[in-house]
């Protein structure tokens, strides 16, 4: 299949399986188009009008035929549905232990930040053969992160996180396109995914001057924004302790339980009154507009790190 013309490069772990489905669909399309065209041409010639007063006998229809040509397409689409959905479902979750990268889209560039602190614009360096998970958000309108060679695409939305993952299987430079129309220079919002051998990638990471990791940057913002005043490590502050919280279930004042994931962390900073933890009052001010998208990403990286820290023994939350 690699040699076929008119095919984009296959450079990710899922590209081949998506292409197999694509080729099956192409075969179905060609088969039925050819079938319909040949039958029509055959009938056109065989049953052409030979005299102007020809009156062919009426045929009402045929129930067995109707059943047949309802059943065959149904079976075919059922097969495609199962095949395609299985593939999609399997690829919808990033594997555990995937490398994390933050992506922020804005008119008209991609800003990328690695956990170690390296920043890039319109370029994403990734190592070969290692799952990479992107956590993405937009500063303005809806964008879309699309890497044709990887067969992956996901909208990048303002005000929330979306995620996408891939595992590159080929060293090289691949197109990154914005695939959701985003204004005047939408066509210029393109970049490159640079896949390197792991040791070259490590060298790249070590090069440049990574001032501080995202976690360290997040810790600084956490301090300077006054967060620790309420979110004390021992849980005695006005807000809940954030140690060991990330990734865990949290009980809300409404009685609901949510998982403290990226989306929840982000929402609690921007719209703190939306989902208040049980036992606490909705007194936290909103930080919307106070922190930039990139600072938010840093804060989330820091909160992820706090999540790995040992939680303090449970204490009664303050009223």
């Amino acid at each position: 299949m690699q040699g076929l013309p008119f095919q984009p490069e296959q450079a990710s772990s899922i590209a081949k399986s998506v292409d197999q489905l694509y080729f099956f669909l192409t075969a179905v399309t060609l088969f039925f188009t050819a079938l319909i065209f040949s039958i029509i041409f055959y009938f056109m010639i065989k049953y052409r009008r030979r005299s102007p007063d020809e009156r062919p006998k009426a045929i009402e229809g045929s129930f067995p035929l109707e059943v047949l040509w309802t059943a065959i397409p149904t079976l075919i689409v059922a097969l495609i549905f199962v095949w395609s959905s299985t593939l999609y479902f399997r690829n919808s979750q990033a594997p555990r232990g995937a490398m994390e990268i933050f992506v922020t889209g804005k008119q008209w560039m991609w800003k990328v930040e690695h956990p170690e602190g390296q920043r890039e614009i319109n370029e994403v360096h990734v190592p070969l053969g290692r799952p990479v998970k992107l956590t993405m958000t937009s500063e303005d309108v809806i964008h879309d992160f699309f890497v044709p060679a990887f067969r992956v695409k996901k909208d990048v939305l303002p005000g929330r996180y979306t995620t996408l993952w891939f595992e590159a299987t080929k060293v090289g430079t691949f197109h990154l396109f914005c695939a959701q129309y985003c204004g005047a220079f939408h066509a210029g919002m393109i970049g490159s995914i640079i896949v390197q051998e792991p040791d070259q990638y490590e060298a790249w990471l070590a090069g440049g001057a990574p001032g501080e990791s995202m976690e360290q940057a997040g810790a600084k913002i956490f301090q300077s924004s006054g967060c620790p005043t309420c979110h004390q490590a021992d849980g005695k502050g006005l807000g809940p302790s954030l140690l060991g919280v990330y990734g865990q279930p949290v009980k809300l004042t409404t009685g609901e339980t949510v998982t403290a994931d990226d989306a929840y962390m982000r929402e609690s900073i921007v719209l703190p009154k939306a989902k208040v933890v049980q036992g606490y009052s909705p007194i936290m001010p909103s930080f919307q507009g106070q922190v930039t998208e990139e600072q938010l990403n840093n804060l989330v990286a820091y909160l992820r790190a706090l999540g790995k820290a040992q939680a303090m023994p449970k204490e009664e939350g303050k009223q």
Binding site: L21, L25, S62, V77, S85, C182, H186
Partner: protein, 542 residues
């Protein structure tokens, strides 16, 4: 056939065209046939405008860096092309032109149920159209015809409000047309015209009307909310104002996916009439074809989420929408098989309308099958937002709906104008359009698979060859569309006079004069036979 002897007699006959003269007799007419002609002139005008935008786009894309205009201008071109073609050409084309003309004739009535509402619908359409034209002249709009928020509501500095008002207003004309058809089909059928004796064109119009009446209000609400946010910063869609960025897409596609069926169902109706006539056969599996129209209309409301597979919507929602989208493919497949089977043991002749109809089957089959790639989750992730989408929906909307419209115009032209057009030119145009269309849009499937995103004003050089092919095809297609415009206008004056039933077709519209008198029928006909009674024994009562 000898025109010399017929002409003076037909000229003298009173019909809806010569019943009255003067602009008032047209602009204040309540005759459904004259309103249909008002619509025909208007949709043709908008088709030419929308088409010129497409021509400019294809010229621009010949070079990777863009050959003609600035990116901002290109963005306005594709936006206006979409807005004009969808809301002002495709949606009104078959229903408001052919439907208006034919629904009363086919049910055996003197007019639609509400003639004044019918005229009002045209005025509403024109006012909506003027707002849109104003926006184009006043600087244009650059949001894409999909108006995605928050770009449209808070970031675009173009004429979003004027276009939104234009689309909002025009929606009401759709609703009035749909309402009129539903009531007419329910209440005004001639004696003996039972539901299952109706031509399939009426079934298609009925299904389309249901979508118009149920779906269009949702579009109106959505556009209204968009305008509220755009003008008064009420936070509905923009997260910066506390809104939900995806809510707009849900509401928009709840109308705009069914709107695809507003465009294609009427073309399917036309298809059934033409194939039956030129194969001289009853439509194979009449009831199944009729019910599949209704099935498409109903299922069409449940599949909007397939436009949003990559927005981060839940995996499970994606699975449901994928399944439902596959289901909606089945009634369409059934129709294609039944049309093909209708040809079996028929007496097939190849006048121009039949060539358009056969072209429709070919292009619609390809459009429908490529839809499977997009209903399927794993492949949609790759193809969504690329030229594959552009190719797919042009196969449905241009290959399907426009071919259907042109086929219908050629089929009923003798009835509408009372004249015949030169068949050789019409056949040539049909072939040129078919070839030009495939040259234009087939390369776009490949472009999309290779990964070229849509709505790009400039693009990486590796995509140039396919883009040049597509632009070359568009030239052929453009010529193909001009030819009918010329010979149809020519035929109105110089074409041979048409007899009442030049194709030997069944159906009440062919039992009255060409063109019909203002009151359609001297006496309300009584229907005693099934639709498509082409066979000898059934035609005995003719």
């Amino acid at each position: 056939m000898s025109t010399a002897t017929l002409e003076p007699r037909v000229r003298a006959q009173k019909n809806y065209l010569n019943a009255d003269y003067g602009w008032k007799s047209w602009l204040f007419t309540l005759d459904h046939k004259r309103i249909a002609l008002l619509y025909m002139v208007s949709v043709t005008f908008f088709f030419v405008i929308g088409g010129s935008f497409a021509v400019l786009m294809r010229i621009h894309l010949v070079e990777p860096q863009g050959a003609l205009v600035q990116p901002e201008t290109y963005n306005k071109l594709f936006t206006l092309h979409g807005v004009v073609m969808i809301f002002f050409f495709l949606i009104p084309s078959i229903p408001a032109v052919l439907g208006n003309f034919l629904v009363p004739l086919m049910v055996g009535a003197r007019d639609l149920a509400f003639p004044k509402l019918n005229l009002l619908s045209w005025y509403i359409y024109i006012v909506g159209g003027l707002f849109t034209l104003y926006s184009a002249i006043a600087g244009g709009v650059d949001t894409g015809w999909t108006f995605y928020t928050p770009y449209s509501s808070t970031y675009s500095n173009t004429q979003v409000t004027a276009v939104a008002i234009g689309v909002f207003i025009t929606g009401f004309s759709s609703i009035l047309t749909g309402l009129n058809f539903i009531v007419t089909i329910h209440k005004m059928r001639a004696p003996g015209m039972t539901w299952f004796r109706m031509p399939l064109f009426l079934w298609a119009m009925y299904a389309t009307s249901i979508i118009m009446v149920l779906g269009t209000p949702v579009l109106a609400i959505t556009i209204f909310l968009l305008a509220l946010e755009h003008l008064f910063h009420v936070g509905i869609f923009s997260p910066a104002l506390g809104g939900d960025p995806l809510l707009f897409q849900h509401l928009f596609w709840f109308y705009s996916h069914p709107a695809v069926y507003i465009m294609i169902l009427p073309a399917m109706g036309v298809e059934s009439e033409i194939i039956a006539c030129f194969a001289r056969k009853k439509i194979f599996g009449y009831k199944i074809v009729a019910f599949s129209s209704v099935a498409i209309a109903v299922l069409g409301f449940l599949v909007w989420g397939h436009h949003m597979f990559v927005t981060g919507q839940s995996v499970y929602a994606g699975l449901i929408f994928s399944l439902l989208s596959f289901l909606v493919a089945i009634p369409s497949a059934i129709k294609v098989f039944n049309w093909t089977a209708t040809l079996y043991k028929g007496s097939i002749s190849y006048e121009a309308p039949m060539l358009y109809a056969l072209g429709f089957i070919g292009l619609f089959t390809m459009g429908g099958l490529t839809g499977l790639f997009l209903a399927s989750l794993a492949t949609d992730v790759h193809l969504n937002g690329t030229y594959f989408i552009v190719a797919h929906f042009h196969y449905i909307m241009v290959g399907g709906a426009v071919m259907g419209y042109l086929g219908g115009i050629h089929f009923w032209w003798p009835k509408i104008s009372g004249r015949k057009y030169p068949n050789a030119w019409a056949a040539l145009a049909a072939v040129i359009i078919f070839v030009g269309f495939n040259l234009t849009f087939f390369p776009q499937f490949i472009l999309g698979y290779l990964g070229m995103p849509r709505r790009y004003a400039f693009y990486p050089a590796e995509f140039q060859v396919l883009n040049v092919m597509s632009s070359a095809g568009a030239t052929v297609l453009g010529v193909g569309y001009l030819i009918p415009l010329i010979y149809l206008i020519w035929s109105m004056r110089y074409g041979p006079v048409a007899e009442p039933n030049p194709w030997g077709a069944t159906g009440l519209e062919w039992k009255t004069a060409s063109p019909p008198p203002t009151e359609n029928f001297a006496e309300i006909p009584v229907v005693t036979e099934e639709a498509y009674a082409y066979a000898p024994e059934e035609a005995a009562g003719d």
